[in-house]
């Protein structure tokens, strides 16, 4: 007699699949004997989308690559470039020719790191066939852009390994930040033989790439964790103290905090307001500054009222930036005083903000006055409702509500909020189909021009469609000016002009909060490029 055939079948089915599923990866995160062995457990927020340094554009990828690879220079603990694979550099008088002399360094497979590895990697990044989305960062190299646009051959690109240990680089124009670029992932060296050996599989697994940084990747469980170990072949390995770094992938902030509180992590981000509130005064809370500015972009060609500088200024004056950073965000972010974030350098020892000063006030009275003047100039009777384009993340939505309330309360302007996914916001911005957009920009290197050149007339990133001849002239001169002091004065002038005309209203500079154990020492945090360096990090006995 058939007894329960259905039930048995279902159990077999469920059980069978269950058993097959059980076969996949089983690892315990154990961390014993930390006193003897230096092990760090550090949460990363996503699976690195790719570790091919010539191609990747991703934050987490940069974080890992910065610790397993090394360029000619590396960001030091103060985020200034220090010689790394390069031992020294000679810069020509016109500042357009850099001659790098390489030290004796090895790849993780024991082969020497040579100038050819750099020439190969940079040309590979520029090669249109590589389709690198960060090729643009290589454009300061002479003929870099032209090669990428298939106008010249690879041989005409201004990078040449003249000897195994000597690399000569010609630039399109003298730029003061070229050594900063040497620390950027796209400028890391790559081994032609390895890249070609693995082809499409290059850098997809830890054993399908080679390393020349302080650590090597020993394990990559996709979507789960990455493990780095000290690189015994690294030229400066006597200064590397950590033996192992585990990077579990933890996407959710609460999950990170739970794991931190159960001792599974030494570091986790806590960017959400509820955690910022809870932990902001905790001794394990660390603030990580960023060269990032969030601003409102006013599309000067869409709604008539936004074509008027007085009205744009009125809108800017109506926002209480301090209330936003201190009451809404609470994570240490700072109100913007201009487009260029604090910390971006003007010269060797002064920051741009120190020199340029500037202030973006909060003054509802003045705002109302300017608003009325502007409306009169345009002969518009009533201020229309404006549309604010914003991302659909919870942070952005909160921000939208904040602006809406500020405009309504302080100058009686109504705002309609249009909240869309990121890709759609970008599309609408590109097509200039918006009135006001909540946007932002982060620096890839330490120079104000990365922010300021966005707003010249022909820049595709000038989404405000604002155009000012004087501004254009100042920026274009700065892009090629070998007199760096004069250049800085021009950039300061340009920012002042921008803030007078206010096609964008900078609101705040982001700071991120994290929890980090106090026994973790000397991790270097960087406000641009790769977020952290573990080269000098260590763990005090627990």
């Amino acid at each position: 007699m058939r007894k329960w055939p259905g039930m048995i079948l279902s159990i077999l089915l469920v059980g069978g699949l269950f058993l097959t599923a059980c076969g996949s990866g089983v690892t315990e995160f154990d961390e014993q004997g930390a006193a003897k062995k230096q092990v760090l457990d550090w949460a990363i927020t996503a699976e690195p989308p790719g570790l091919d340094s010539a191609i990747t554009t991703d934050t987490v990828s940069f974080q890992l690559l910065n610790n397993v690879m090394e360029g000619l220079y590396r960001l030091d603990p103060d985020s200034k470039p220090e010689p790394a694979i390069a031992e020294r550099v000679e810069i020509s008088d016109d500042k357009k020719r850099y001659t790098f002399y390489l030290r004796d360094a090895q790849w993780s497979d024991g082969k020497p790191v040579t100038a050819h590895d750099f020439e190969y990697a940079w040309k590979r990044g520029l090669n249109p066939k590589t389709a690198s989305e960060y090729a643009v960062i290589l454009f300061p190299i002479k003929n870099g852009e032209k090669y990428n646009q298939q106008q010249v051959s690879a041989d005409e690109v201004g990078v040449k390994a003249v000897e195994d240990k000597k690399l000569v680089v010609e630039l399109e124009a003298p730029i003061p930040y070229f050594l900063y670029l040497m620390t950027f992932a796209t400028y890391y060296p790559q081994r032609q033989d390895i890249v070609e050996k693995y082809g499409n599989e290059y850098a997809l697994e830890p054993d399908k790439m080679v390393y020349n940084g302080p650590f090597v990747m020993t394990e990559w469980k996709h979507n789960q964790s990455v493990q780095l170990k000290k690189n015994s072949k690294y030229w400066d390995q006597q200064n590397v103290k950590l033996d192992v770094i585990n990077f579990p992938i933890v996407k959710d902030t609460s999950a990170g905090v739970n794991l931190y509180n159960t001792d599974k992590l030494d570091f986790t981000w806590i960017n959400e307001a509820k955690f910022a509130e809870k932990y902001k005064d905790d001794k394990e809370a660390v603030k990580v500054n960023e060269f990032t500015t969030f601003y409102l972009v006013f599309n000067t060609k869409k709604n008539k009222v936004l074509s008027n500088a007085k009205i744009r200024k009125a809108l800017s004056l109506a926002v209480d930036r301090k209330a936003y950073t201190d009451i809404v965000l609470k994570n240490g972010s700072v109100p913007a005083a201009g487009l260029v974030p604090p910390g971006v350098l003007a010269n060797e020892d002064q920051s741009f903000r120190e020199v340029a000063k500037g202030e973006l006030g909060f003054d509802p009275q003045e705002a109302k006055k300017l608003l009325n003047e502007g409306l009169n100039e345009l002969s518009v009777e009533k201020m229309p409702t404006l549309e604010l384009l914003i991302d659909d993340t919870s942070v952005a939505k909160t921000m939208g509500e904040f602006y809406k309330e500020q405009f309504r309360k302080n100058i009686g302007v109504d705002l309609k909020i249009k909240s869309v996914p990121f890709k759609q916001r970008l599309e609408l911005e590109k097509n200039r189909e918006y009135e006001i957009s909540n946007s932002g920009w982060g620096a890839d290197f330490n120079d104000p021009i990365t922010f300021l050149e966005l707003f010249i007339s022909e820049s595709p990133f000038n989404r405000a469609q604002w155009s000012n001849k004087e501004y254009d002239a100042l920026i274009k001169k700065s892009q090629v000016n070998a007199d760096f002091d004069e250049r800085m004065q021009d950039l300061i002038k340009a920012e002042q002009l921008l803030m007078e005309e206010m096609p964008i209203a900078p609101i705040y500079h982001r700071t991120r909060l994290a929890l980090m154990r106090t026994h973790v020492k000397d991790v270097a945090f960087h406000p641009f490029g790769a977020d952290f360096t573990f080269k000098w990090a260590s763990i005090d006995s627990k």
Binding site: L9, V14, A21, P128, E133, N258, L426
Partner: protein, 309 residues
């Protein structure tokens, strides 16, 4: 039977093709491109890179090319995860989602079925009320709320089980528990209702009249007939849990597939979207097929047309 199966398989293939076609064209109406650094690319550079991927071709041509590769089982390379095959991504994430999902179903059935039986047999008593309460709670409390609570209390405060991450069997308990509550609730509710109906049927009276003991009557006759609706909902539940594990995976930092499903859409990972959608569709179609077959095995009254008596 063979003819029936063949017919079903043909339908399945057609269904898949229709889904794939719809998804393909709908997906291309999403704003933006699959490029990751879109924010920092000038329009010219963007076009150049898109052309490199063949995304500058007219859609129908891209469609034909995609299907040519699909026919040989090639789901293509992800746009988001540089160079990674979509099949590898699915093969990496699905076993984890399936592990916690099927474990949740198992827990759900093992707890839910007895709960429903007891409630039906003890109708109107405190036991019944308690079971109903559990069922209502299970349906109304979302799995992610429970997941957050379990992770915090069991994981952090009491420290009994890991608060998250993936590794040993211990890591799978809390996620599975979070997901299983819905199954328990659904199962208990259906079994209870069905059981009450079945217990009132003539053949139960007959069975009792034959002098069979209560347990035999319940186990052999009542439960078996009550299981049919339970199996009906088991299919959709399984799908629901396998595709809807995203938030639970998030809360416990588990490398499952739920995330991939949503992520691929957010970043316009065309090949990723197609791959995951097709995979899930295939899964759903197969589950429905298996359930249909199971019907016949459990309930002799349901027989597939064309089967020789």
């Amino acid at each position: 039977m063979g003819k029936y199966v063949l017919q079903r398989v043909i339908y399945m293939v057609v269904t898949l093709w229709v889904i794939a076609t719809f998804t393909f064209f709908l997906m291309h109406t999403l704003p933006g491109s699959p490029l990751k650094n879109e924010e920092r690319l000038s329009p010219e550079l963007q076009e150049q890179i898109l052309a490199e991927y063949g995304l500058d071709q007219p859609l129908p041509i891209q469609y034909v090319q995609y299907f040519k590769r699909l026919l040989v089982g090639d789901l293509g390379i992800s746009f988001y995860y540089d160079g990674r095959k979509v099949t590898d991504l699915i093969a990496g994430g699905f076993p984890v989602s399936a592990h916690i999902g099927l474990q949740a179903i198992l827990i759900g059935v093992l707890v839910g079925v007895p709960l429903g039986c007891i409630a039906a047999l003890r109708r109107g008593t405190a036991v019944d009320n308690a079971a109903t309460l559990v069922a209502i709670l299970g349906v109304s409390v979302p799995s992610f709320v429970l997941a957050a609570l379990l992770s915090y209390y069991v994981g952090v405060v009491w420290g009994i089980l890991p608060a998250g991450l993936w590794g040993s069997w211990k890591h799978s308990i809390l996620p599975s528990l979070s997901l299983s509550v819905l199954v328990i609730a659904q199962m208990a509710r259906f079994i209870r209702t069905e059981m009450l109906e079945v217990l009132g049927q003539d053949y139960i009276k007959t069975a009792k009249a034959k002098g069979l003991s209560q347990s035999v009557v319940v186990m052999r006759h009542a439960l078996r007939n009550s299981l049919i609706p339970a199996i009906t909902i088991l299919g959709p539940l399984m799908i629901n849990i396998l595709t809807g594990s995203l938030v639970v995976e998030h809360i416990f930092a588990i490398p499952g597939m739920g995330e991939m499903f949503v992520q691929s859409i957010v970043v316009n990972d065309y090949t990723g979207i197609m791959g995951v959608t097709l995979f899930y569709s295939l899964l759903i179609i197969i589950v429905i097929f298996v359930i249909d077959i199971l019907y016949g095995l459990i309930d002799p009254r349901i027989r597939i047309a064309g089967v020789k008596e």
